[in-house]
Symmetry: C2
Subunit: 365 residues, 2 copies
DNA sequence: GTGAAAGCGCTAACAG
DNA sequence: CTGTTAGCGCTTTCAC
């Protein structure tokens, strides 16, 4: 800690100019080896570490990319401790990778390949002071998970540095100079629905949707509806059940509701807007004495790791979350390149794929 | 992205001085509301975002904490693509959270609570240029996963800002002003070994160690040896098998080696230095017609989520990886506080706990 | 409550 | 290959 040496100190101690010290750190080969060693030695003795801030200021670039994601995990300090103490399944939701963890991993790796580090922050509210603002001020460009940052803030920020929006539909109200990456929610749900209808011959289907304001869940429902239309089945206005949260517990509750309501006309297949709910449903169905997939087929959406391990293994639509992160970095790096800054906002849709496992009636694999 | 407005632009446009603009962003209450609104409005119109670099430079603090972790996942671009294409279990290792993912999560949350953002980087080599140096220059303090950064670099860096070392034993050769957090590897392994010996009455035990230079694995072996000593059993010099990697595949291989070597004297219990290997072993044992735990007990170390899902569920020693991250942040924040900078280097050992599941012969739970 | 001036530690031309 | 000279955009005393 103490006095914090600077280029001047190192320069003086090694008998060169500050410019040379700077060069040693920025482009070592541009300095004669002997000089370089002298500088490095002095730096070591002094405990010199270049200030990223000063560097960034002078060179107008940070070498850092950012990611802002929603503040999921936070209603915790108490509830998590409780879950841990009880050893309940509640922390399953925590033990496995979250959407954001996967994206972080994808971005970190891609960033590293391009020589960037990654700054992450779960965003809170907006305004000045906000973490988003902090991130924005410290990176060369960043990605934002949908609905994390007030559109208004993004509007301002995206005028100053590249921002790519992840997941969620392109917001027509939002700033129009944002790049945007999403996955093919509707296509995926449509295809998995088609699979149930055509390949397994199921007709009595039910769809369990997502929370009110989730555009992803909405798109998935649209895909479901489209597949029904394709097959000449009645097209519903809205999901058969619309849970409060998209958790395992809510999935189980949705099943109860569906069965209670159905009487003897139990659906032949239940499609869930995400894996968590589908997995919760598996347990609930078992408790009600219904076999999956013999009595009722079940499908999810996301492709979380847990889905492969439950019995029966969950048929689902897999989203390439890691790739989402990687593509985000690619897009940012491209924008940062001399070529990129100009172009039109780009919007990519990543393909998803249907993973047929046991819960739909397909064999394993 | 065009001209990048500064405090001067905002000041001019709103008819105040740059000092006032600065105040609006740093301490809004110190400015009359009317003035503040004027400034904010101008900022919005201009698309002004405060430069974190300039701020950091002027105030000598960044509001960011860092984490450097080893570059695990990288032999990838090809091998991962292959695994994905084949849909093999190879990507199991990827699907689940890694050690570093858990720590990232823990740190991110704790950092956020303290108003910090988190900068992460998988470190490459050392020297100038290195990512570590970049991280060091852009944060107020950071954590390093053991053996990630050349000790020499840390020596220099830790003189300038707080660094906390994660996992791995305290390095007596290393810089002595580093704080340090590790988990009770030896204690945990000793306790789980005792459990097998005393509670299950097993005597013919085998220990599968870790890679050569892993101090964690070494400590675990020490714990195993200690438990044997406690029980009056012969104390081995070294693990019965020492794999190249600590993966599922290597765990399976270790089992083969052990069984081939054992003849009819099959061990009654096999203890693995981590969960991955133990899980791989479960499959291998099954293939060889041995039942777990009836014929042979198996234990792991780490407490990864997958261990709870395999059959039989894995008895293991759980490390509090999230807490590792949280404690790291606490330590850093404390050092950063006026009080902290002084104190002696601190070394914490986090307790682990034995999770008794099925693979040792205990019932579920 | 607000302004003026002096850096923070580095990079970036330009000379030599 | 190395030195000189300006700032980069903000925070900070210190006056007013």
């Amino acid at each position: 800690m103490s006095s914090t040496p600077t280029v001047y100190d190192v320069a003086e101690r090694s008998g060169v100019s500050i410019a040379t010290v700077s060069r040693v750190y920025r482009n070592p080969d541009s300095v004669r080896e002997k000089t370089r060693d002298k500088v490095l030695a002095a730096a070591r003795e002094l405990g010199y570490v270049p200030s990223g801030n000063a560097r960034g200021l002078a060179s107008r670039s940070t070498g850092v990319l950012g990611l802002c994601f929603p503040d999921y995990s936070d209603p915790d300090t108490e509830s998590e401790a409780a879950a841990a103490a009880a050893g309940t399944e509640a922390d399953d939701d925590h033990a496995f990778m979250l959407y954001s963890d996967q994206i972080i991993r994808g971005m970190e790796r891609a960033a590293r390949r391009h020589g960037y580090a990654l700054l992450i922050a779960a965003s809170l509210s907006g305004g000045p002071e906000s973490l988003v603002a902090k991130v924005a001020g410290r990176v060369d460009g960043f990605a934002v998970l949908a609905r994390t940052v007030p559109t208004e803030d993004l509007e301002v920020i995206s005028r100053r540095l590249p921002v790519v929006m992840l997941a969620g539909p392109r917001d027509p109200e939002g700033p129009d100079h944002l790049d945007h990456i999403e996955v093919a929610n509707a296509d995926g749900q449509r295809e998995i629905t088609r699979h149930l209808i055509e390949d397994h011959g199921l007709r009595r289907l039910a769809f369990v949707g997502g929370v009110e304001d989730s555009p992803d869940a909405q798109a998935r429902f649209d895909g479901y509806a489209a597949a029904r239309r394709d097959a000449g089945l009645p097209v519903p206005e809205s999901p058969d059940v619309r849970p409060e949260l998209m958790t395992q517990a809510e999935g189980a509750k949705a099943v109860e509701a569906l069965l209670d309501r159905a009487g003897t006309q139990v659906p032949q297949g239940i499609l869930f807007a995400n894996d968590q709910m589908a997995i919760g449903a598996l347990h609930a169905l078992e408790r009600r004495g219904l076999r999956v997939p013999q009595d009722v087929a079940v499908t999810g959406f996301d492709g979380i790791p847990l889905g492969r391990l439950v019995r029966p293994a969950l048929t689902t639509v897999r989203q390439p979350m890691r790739r989402l992160g990687e593509e985000a970095v690619d897009l940012l790096v491209h924008r940062l390149g001399s070529a990129g800054s100009a172009g039109e906002p780009e919007s990519r849709v990543l393909p998803v794929d249907v993973v047929r496992r046991e819960s739909c009636g397909c064999g394993a694999g």
